[in-house]
């Protein structure tokens, strides 16, 4: 497995340290600044290459056409986007991951087909949400191509789903309740499964249904649903 990491800042450096441990991985770190590249090379050795990762001719030289994965983690969203597009469209790299520094660029990256996006602010937000006592819906994993998320939620007392069987509930289209954890025991639910407050639910939720689902596990039933 050959991985090219573009950007030797703190993120790229940390990534390199991790990937270096894995036996069957060949890794190249690309860094634009020559002084930074030299400093990294002192520690990481020959895997560090000085150059512009968004330049086609340069990527050719580091063997982009045989790369299995390219990860662009510079502090410049333009460079990350272009690097990933060059990798996918010019070199047919099967998988690319881009770091998004400005969260407002996320939508553009998605529209342009970047399969995986790492957003520092998004990751921090997920951590913050997880620590809030009233946390209710935490994204565990994004399935970008399908616009889905795997989430975990905790059923709140008196919410619309509390005490109800799954069969009696109408979740938004596309929601799959896959695991219900009751008293520490995980089970695949059936239509007869009753949800209790305190239960944890693992579900696949379309991005646009997230707010509706959150509402169902946290808020009392809406009168109109009677």
């Amino acid at each position: 497995m050959y991985i090219i990491v573009v950007g030797g800042g703190n993120v790229g450096y940390g990534l390199a340290l991790e990937l270096q441990q894995l036996p069957d991985y060949e890794v190249t770190i690309v860094e634009l600044s020559s002084s930074r590249a030299n400093a990294l090379r002192d520690e990481l050795g020959e895997m560090v290459v000085h150059g512009d990762g968004s330049e086609i001719a340069f990527l050719e030289g580091v063997g982009a056409s045989r790369a299995d994965l390219l990860i662009a983690v510079t502090a410049d969203d333009g460079a990350n986007l272009v690097t990933c597009q060059v990798a996918s469209h010019w070199f047919n790299v099967p998988r690319v991951i881009a770091r998004v520094n400005d969260p407002r660029n996320e939508l553009l990256f998605r529209r342009l087909g970047i399969n995986s996006i790492v957003s520092a602010s998004g990751a921090v937000m997920a951590q913050i949400e997880a620590t809030l006592p009233e946390h209710t819906l935490i994204p565990l994993m994004a399935l970008e191509s399908a616009g889905l998320q795997v989430v975990t939620m905790r059923v709140q007392e008196g919410s619309a789903v509390d005490g109800q069987t799954l069969r009696s509930l109408t979740f938004p289209q596309g929601v799959l309740v896959t695991i219900v954890i009751h008293d520490g025991t995980a089970a695949t639910p059936s239509g007869d499964t009753v949800l209790h407050h305190g239960d944890e639910i693992i579900a696949v939720v379309p991005r646009e249904a997230e707010d509706a689902v959150r509402g169902m596990v946290t808020s009392p039933p809406v009168a109109a649903e009677e």
Binding site: I56, A57, G78, L81, V82, Q85, H89, R104, L108
Partner: protein
């Protein structure tokens, strides 16, 4: 037409001046206020301080109603990011992007942008000039690759 130009360098300023003289409604963006000095005092378009990669600035420039977006700022990647944003997010019909690296220009031309590479054009002009039959003492073609 409503035209948004990202980058008020020699090319951006000159183009803004030309388009405005033709009666188009022009907004020029630059991250450096000093760059606007290149516009003539009679320039009647808008000058907006900020980056064309920034959604807030693009919206302030009226990107949603623009028919044309031109990216001629200094960095290729910035130009490409802003141009794709104009096209994919704000639905601008005609997006023209300067990409100095000829290969990158070619790639993004295939991905829906109208790109031009001053490097490629400059090489061709210089090469043509070398072999052009010149009257004695005449200077060569004047349009270099100055950015």
């Amino acid at each position: 037409m409503r035209v948004v130009i990202m980058g008020c360098g020699r090319v951006g300023a000159g183009l803004a001046q030309t388009m405005q003289a033709e009666g188009h409604q022009v907004t020029v963006l630059d991250t450096d206020a000093f760059a606007f000095r290149r516009l003539l005092p009679n320039f009647a378009g808008r000058r907006l301080l900020g980056s064309g990669t920034d959604d807030r600035i693009l919206q302030e420039a009226g990107i949603g109603e623009a028919e044309v977006f031109v990216a001629v700022a200094s960095g290729d990647n910035r130009n490409i990011l802003a141009s794709q944003k104009a096209r994919e997010i704000y639905g601008v019909q005609r997006v023209v992007t300067r990409v100095k690296d000829p290969l990158r220009a070619e790639l993004f031309n295939g991905l829906g942008l109208r790109t031009f590479s001053p490097t490629k054009v400059g090489i061709e002009l210089a090469h043509t000039s070398i072999f052009a039959e010149m009257p004695e003492g005449a200077p060569g073609a004047g349009g270099g690759a100055g950015a």
